[in-house]
Each structure stands twice: as C-alpha cells, then as structure tokens.
Symmetry: C2
Subunit: 309 residues, 2 copies
C-alpha cells in the first residue's frame, strides 16, 4: 500500500493528504437544511449532513490528491449514525481511487489491538465468512503500549497489504510534556522514532516501509532530526495551515528523492470557504473553495521544495 | 461519578469491575446459532450474538458488582453493527444500575479529543438539540498528547459529572519499552502518574478525584510506588486473572481506607465456563459460571486485603 501511495503522490505531484474532519459548523447552510429536513435535527441528520458535505468536497478535489485522512472522532461524536457516515466516506473515497488513511489513533494491549486492526485494516471472521468492517488503507496508531501493542497492527498490514503511521511527535502545543522528556540526554520521541524505524525495516515496500510515522508540522526542527533518524520511514505531517505549519517549514521532512513525507491539512481545505482568503466563494461553492485551497497548498509545498533544491 | 462508583463499591463490598470484552469464541454455541439463524453469519449476526452473550452475563452478575468495563475494540471489529451492540450494552448496564467504564483509550489533539469526549461522556449539539451518543460514565484515555489532549475530556467530565482513567502503566509485557524509560533517573510512568495526580487535584469528588489512573496488575511493584505518588487518584487495575495478576499482588494498589483501586477481570469472568476450574458449568450455564468467577474474584481480593491489614 505504501507503493500505491507513493505512485499516487508522484502521479498527482501532490505530497498532500486532505483531512476529512467535518464539524457541523463547517457544513454550509443549504446542506444542513436539506439533511435536517429529511432526518430532523438528530444524530442521523448530523451524519447525513457530514456525509453530503464530504461527498461534495471529494467529488471536487479527488483528481488533485493522492489520499484523504478522515478523523474518526468527528464521526464517532455522532454515535452509530456518525460511524455509518465514516464508513460511507471511506467507501466513497475508495471508489474515487483515493488512498484512505483512517486517523483512528488506536493502540492497546495485544489482543485488543488485534481487534482494532481486524476492524480497521483487516478482516473479522464470523462463522464461515470474513468481513472487512471499516477497511481503511492506512491507520494511525498510538505507540504508548510498545511493541506488543503495535505488533497486531503490523501483522494485519503484512497480511492485507496495508500500512500504518505511528505517532512519534504530535503537532499539539503540549506534545512535549511527555514526548520531549529526555531519556539519556535524548528526547523520548527519538526513541519512539527509532523503534518505528526498527519495526519498519522488517516491513518494506520498494523504497519505503509501510510502517510510517506521524511528526507534526509545528515542530520543524524535530522533523529535520527524525527525517535523518528514519530514512526509509514515510512521515505523515499533520498541523499544516490552521495549526500553523507552512510549506517552507516542511522541506526537511522530505528526503532528497522528493519523497518521504505527506502533509495533511484538514480545516484549511474543507472549511476554506469560511476563510478570508477564499471569501470570493459563496457557501454554495464551498467545494470549489476547497479545490482552490488544495491547489494553493500544493503550490506552497512544491514551491518550497523546489526552492530548497 | 467517582462518588457514585465508591458508594457502589462499598455497597457491594466488591472493588472489582467486569470487562465486557466479548470475542465470538467465548459465545456459547446456543447463542451463536440463534443469532446466526436470525441474521446469518454476518456482522449483524455477530453483533447480536455478542449482545445476547453480554445480556446473559449482566443479568446474572449485576447484583454482585459496582461496574462494568466494555472494551470498545471488541465491538468496533464488527463495524457499525458492533458499535450498536456496544451502545445497547452500555444502556442495558445503566438500566441495571451499573457504572459503565468505556474502555476506549482515546486521545488526540485538543479539538479531536473534544469530539471523542462529547461522543463518549458528554453531549453533541445538532441544531437546537443535544444528544448523548454513547454516554459512558467513565472513559479510559491515552496521555501521549499531554495536557491539551487530555483537557477536553476533563472539561466534559466536570460539566457532566463523569470521570476518566488515564493510562499510566499498562499491563502488557512490552509496556516498559517507553513507559519505563528513565527520565532524570525516574521512569516515565512516574511523570505521567504525577501529571494525572496534578490534573486530578483540581477535580475532586469527596475523597478521591474523578480523574483516575490505569496501572496494570502485572507490575505490583509499580502499583506500590504509584499508589503513594497519587494518594487521591482512583486506580483502575487491568490484568487480573487471565493476564496473570492475583489478589495477593494487588493489596498495595489500595489505600488504608480499603479504597483507591478497582480491579478488572475480563476473560477470567466472561469466559469462565471455558476454564478447567469451572468445567462443571455447561455452556448453557455460562452466565452462572461467570457469577461463580465473580464471587471467587471478590473473595480472593477481599481475602488478600484482610490478610494485609
């Protein structure tokens, strides 16, 4: 799957992923009203609104990008109905040829991680049948449990040709509280990064491992260090745009082959029409605003990469 | 909610929680066959089997215990249908007067944690209405993101009178890989434990905080240290029974008031009828076997606590 992702990044010339993390406050009034008219101001109505909102954006940007990253929390908050919308979104994006990174950040003891891995990346056995429940291509994973918490995810990736992005250094302001703690003079995230590289070395695609890492755009110096420490690890970079990261900050997340990183933007793309920069787009053209924001983001990152060469 | 949990622990004289972590392999043949006859060997059939299995156990043990802890992964593996069974289980346990600890181990950047917190402990706003999606009483949370990842969960707990158990030292064999790393000569879990105590100090019930900690039964020496470091923190202790923990190992997880810890057993209770010790129970009496296993667990832990006095 890492080979497929890289192929698609090359083909689109867009090392980016769009975070499908819909909040109801992002959804334009005309979509909300239609959904509420049909299902009421209910969890079902919210889920329908979110799904229609996603669909509009995906239809309008799917030719430009290699991948999407739905954040499951934004669906899970609407309960079972929301998770139905998550599943529909994953399936729809697959039909549009996009790689789907499930931003689920699960992680637990071995037997529990095995259940998460089966449900999100693999198959679950029921009697004589096997089913894929959510069926993402990649999933994000929390490393706090260590090797035997991550192992079942890796096993399923190997069997099913899927991949992972494991949290190493997250993009949020307080990520340093534990992740930056010095262990023998080096921050914990370096140890986690080394471990990810070690797990990844045994699970290689052609030039990169299908066991990737998450390193936030908001800590460019950390990105530089981790890039060197994990040369064959693909880095998923959240925190671009709304959280503060810019293309110029991110050149060191890439390798000299121009690969090795995929930068995520969520709000900055899907709620573009609400930003001053895209005020020319009416709410009814929200998806067109998202398309323009995607084009601008690609230009920003590729421009920065060219300048750095 | 921590006050309610403590009241129920006192009333039942049972500092234990039963993990409702059903695997299909635990479900007796007669329940499987009935569910498959109705819904086929499908995800729906699996979800129905799991729900009926849970219901049988809850009916048979609810008078003995203060709380249950459904592990959401075991439901999530069956997709949307599985999560419906999770929701039904939570609701049913509430109706039986049990405190429900959602073992979800979520954790993310602030805005995402806020969505998880709303969906599992709080309410989500849709138009003029507010809905509780899953509505557990407590949730387990992963601390890797630090304060601003945990904060939104705490906020919702304060507003909604709910509680948390934050991972400090997990029960799995490789938990030490990152959690035991020495930071200034002390293991990381101690720093996490101190942070949990600090968060908790600002969010107190009567004698204990509603911000609790998870410390695995499989590391009794760590439990002893963390008990002292977090005197007002309730400790959720997984890893009893099937994972290796025994009552005698756990006395130091409790305070001198006989409170401060709640010990979880999952497989050891819900799949008791499959164990040699309970071979006298037929599969059709699986719930009775669970009841006996609960009684034995309570006796083991209370016996150990009395002996230690």
């Amino acid at each position: 799957m890492i080979n497929k992702l890289i192929e698609k990044i090359k083909k689109t010339n867009a090392p980016i992923v769009v975070g499908l993390d819909p909040m109801l406050s992002y959804v334009p009034e005309h979509i909300l009203q239609k959904a509420f008219a049909e299902f009421g101001e209910t969890l079902e109505g919210a889920a329908e609104a979110v799904w229609q909102f996603n669909k509009g954006i995906v239809d309008c940007i799917c030719d430009l990008i290699p991948a999407v990253k739905p954040q499951i929390a934004m669906y899970e908050q609407f309960g079972v109905c929301g998770l139905q919308a998550f599943q529909k979104t994953v399936d729809y994006c697959h039909n549009k040829g996009l790689v789907v990174i499930g931003d689920i950040k699960r992680g637990d003891i071995g037997s529990t991680s095995a259940a998460y891995a089966a449900g999100h990346l693999g198959k679950v056995t029921v009697g004589k049948n096997k089913f894929s429940a959510f069926d993402e291509d990649f999933a994000t994973v929390n490393p706090y449990f260590g090797t035997d918490g991550v192992g079942p995810f890796i096993d399923v990736c190997r069997q099913e040709n899927k991949g992972l992005f494991i949290l190493v250094k997250t993009s949020n302001p307080s990520s340093g509280e534990f992740q930056d703690r010095l262990v023998d003079g080096r921050p914990l995230y370096e140890y986690v990064g080394e471990k990810v590289a070690e797990w990844g070395a045994q699970h290689m695609g052609s030039s990169y491992s299908y066991i990737g890492a998450v390193v936030g755009a908001t800590y460019p110096e950390v990105g530089k260090i981790l890039r060197r420490a994990m040369p064959h690890t693909y880095i998923l970079v959240p925190g671009y745009g709304a959280q503060g990261g810019r293309g110029a900050d991110l050149v060191h997340y890439f390798n000299e082959d121009g690969l090795g990183a995929i930068v995520n933007s969520s709000r900055g793309i899907i709620a573009a029409y609400k930003q001053e920069q895209y005020a020319r787009f009416a709410p009814s053209d929200y998806a067109e605003a998202s398309r323009q924001a995607v084009l601008d983001m690609i230009a920003d990152i590729n421009g920065a990469l060219e300048e750095a060469r």
